[in-house]
């Protein structure tokens, strides 16, 4: 573009340039968005549809290299997955219940700790910035690193956690095993909460900082206790943030794979048999992709239902989508 040109005086030239086939006004947005759509199709949409397709096939290890040959199984995979009397259905139901309990506990703890930390950091005191930075470290570190760190901490005989509990006289002479038996459930809860709560902290803090200070000052003048100020100012005004935060935490936790996988590999104790790992084992270890896909589709349908109901009830993000 040269400075000599005077577009105001020669509008037809500017218009002619915009009429270039690729970058015409009308086409430009589609051209800009096309690459993103292409990749979304290749990695998200087509695999999603293929996954639904595979779930109707008897795609076992014999057919991986020629999946068109895999026999049609109809609803057979779904029937086996949902037959809670049989070993496969029973395993899936158990895994679902474990995952549901895990999700409720993790989301509640992550939200509670995030709220507490945001409340404490969102006031003026010396070293405020240091605490904010410190609290974010577990979230910034790669997931597998924090899980590896916890697997070291949770060792029965030489782990730091049992050492700490022993020094505090919270356990007796027989230190508990954390990575086998029912305690494995609490091991994945601790590990997941430790690296997830900073995200809740981050979101809640960002939300709190947009609440006008005058509201609190007015309430303080009226003699409202800190609890009442939290209950009647902070909580209601954080509603939009909480709405989005809760559904994100729910989806992440329900789909959680890394913690259990890095801690236990493909053979988790039954108390830590989270759904994603359960499906992974059925697909890639037992090499039954048809069954694994049917389970994935069931999981997706469940998550979709919960999300749709949640969005309807709490009207989350509706303003955003309309924007």
């Amino acid at each position: 573009m040269t400075a000599v040109r005077e577009p105001v005086a020669r509008p037809e030239e500017a218009r002619a340039r915009r009429r270039q086939p690729l970058l015409s006004r009308r086409r430009l947005p589609y051209v800009l968005i096309a690459p993103a759509i292409l990749f979304e199709l290749l990695i998200h949409v087509i695999p999603l549809l293929s996954g639904v397709g595979i779930s109707f096939l008897g795609l076992t290890q014999f057919f991986i290299r020629n999946w068109t040959q895999a026999p049609f199984a109809g609803l057979g995979n779904y029937r086996r997955a949902l037959d809670f009397g049989g070993p496969i259905g029973e395993g899936l139901l158990h895994s679902f219940l474990i995952t549901a309990a895990f999700t409720v506990i993790v989301v509640a703890l992550a939200w509670g700790m995030g709220m507490l930390a945001a409340q404490l950091v969102n006031s003026e005191f010396r070293g405020q910035r240091w605490f904010r930075t410190l609290f974010l470290v577990p979230y910034a570190a790669p997931v597998y690193v924090s899980v590896i760190a916890w697997s070291f901490l949770l060792d029965r005989d030489n782990g730091a956690l049992n050492k700490l509990l022993g020094d505090l006289h919270l356990i007796g002479d027989e230190p508990p095993f954390w990575l086998i038996g029912t305690n494995a459930f609490w091991a994945i809860v601790m590990t997941t909460v430790w690296r997830l709560w900073p995200f809740a902290f981050l979101m809640i803090l960002a939300g709190m900082q947009s609440i006008p200070k005058e509201l609190y000052e007015a309430a303080e003048v009226d003699g409202a206790s800190p609890w009442r100020r939290w209950r009647h100012i902070t909580l209601p005004l954080l509603r939009p943030v909480t709405g989005v935060l809760m559904i994100i935490l729910f989806l992440w936790t329900f789909n959680e794979f890394n913690t259990a996988y890095v801690l236990f590999g493909p053979a988790p104790p039954s108390s830590a048999d989270l759904l994603s790992l359960h499906i992974y084992v059925n697909s890639f270890v037992n090499l039954n992709f048809g069954l694994g896909s049917a389970m994935s589709v069931l999981l997706l349908v469940f998550l979709l239902l919960v999300t749709v109901v949640y969005i309807r009830v709490f009207r989350v993000g509706s303003d955003r989508l309309a924007a």
Binding site: V137, V145, A149, A160, G207, P240, S276, G292, S293
Partner: protein
């Protein structure tokens, strides 16, 4: 809230101390263990180490081809980040500045991809990669390209979402005045909108990089020895009989350092990016 009672201050300090302890306890254990000789790490845990050594930080590069995994992770994460940010800028520009058919549909698709379990995509993606190779000779399984396009797609929806929020907060008049002076829409994007949006773009880039750097599930299936990333490679510090815990902890620190430093340095950007894109 400066005028606190003594009791209020005490509660405030106690709360912070407990949360700080929960955060620091694992971090301290990792750091201290990465500085111990192997014999000490294997024995009972002591709060104060008796022997300190930097040897594990030297040994980590020999026990396992860590440098190789590091380079692999770097290639994959950098390429995925650059590609994802570029695609996100174009898409977000279109969504933010144009009204066109399918805009709402695209918005909804972008959001809903966030809820689908990774395991649901992994199976078919694996099968598709294997069959693309068989039918068309396009090798994606076990290659950098396969992993890069997978990761860029993971961060793309959220990146677009965050950038749309950011672009929406920037007045259109800036570009419109440039366009009345003869600039094409693309020139307006590159010369005006992108320079102004650098903080938002940086936040999105860091988010994409962290996503790619920390991914485990897809890396475990889609990589081979040749393209193995750190997420999977760290496992090799434990063999059947032996776990080199001190080296594993040292490697964990080395591997985390780049992303933790980047994240903490940019925490303000990320918070404002989240607020613009997600919270409102």
């Amino acid at each position: 809230m400066r005028h606190r009672s003594v009791r209020g201050r005490l509660a405030h300090a106690t709360g912070l101390a407990i949360l700080a302890f929960i955060t620091i306890f694992p971090l301290y254990t990792v750091i201290v263990s990465s500085l111990k000789p192997l014999g000490d790490v294997r024995g009972e845990f002591h709060w104060i180490p008796s022997n300190l050594t930097l040897q594990p930080y030297i040994d980590i590069w020999k026990t396992v081809p860590l440098a190789h995994y590091f380079v692999n992770s770097l290639i994959v994460a950098v390429c995925a980040t650059v590609a994802s940010v570029t695609l996100a800028i174009f898409a977000a520009y279109a969504i933010s500045r144009y009204r066109f058919k399918g805009r709402t549909a695209f918005n909804i698709t972008v959001l809903s991809t966030q809820m689908f379990p990774g395991i649901l995509f992994l199976l078919p993606l694996f099968v598709i990669f294997v069959n693309l190779e068989k039918s068309f000779g396009i090798t994606l399984y076990g290659t950098y390209v396969g992993l890069i396009i997978t990761y860029l797609t993971f961060s793309l929806p959220f990146s677009i979402w965050m950038l749309v929020g950011y672009f929406n907060s920037i007045p259109r008049e800036l570009e419109e005045s440039a366009m009345t002076e003869g600039a094409t829409p693309l020139q307006a994007l590159f010369r005006i909108l992108i320079p102004v949006s650098m903080p938002g773009i940086a936040a999105v880039a860091i988010y994409s990089f962290i996503t790619a750097w920390g991914e485990v599930l897809f890396a475990s299936v889609l990589t081979t020895d040749e393209t193995r990333t750190l997420a999977i490679g760290l496992r090799n510090y434990s063999s059947q009989t032996n776990v080199y815990w001190n080296q594993l902890m040292a490697a964990a620190i080395v591997v985390s350092a780049p992303v933790v430093i980047a994240f903490l340095a940019a925490q303000r950007l990320i918070v404002s990016g989240l607020t613009a894109g997600g919270v409102k």
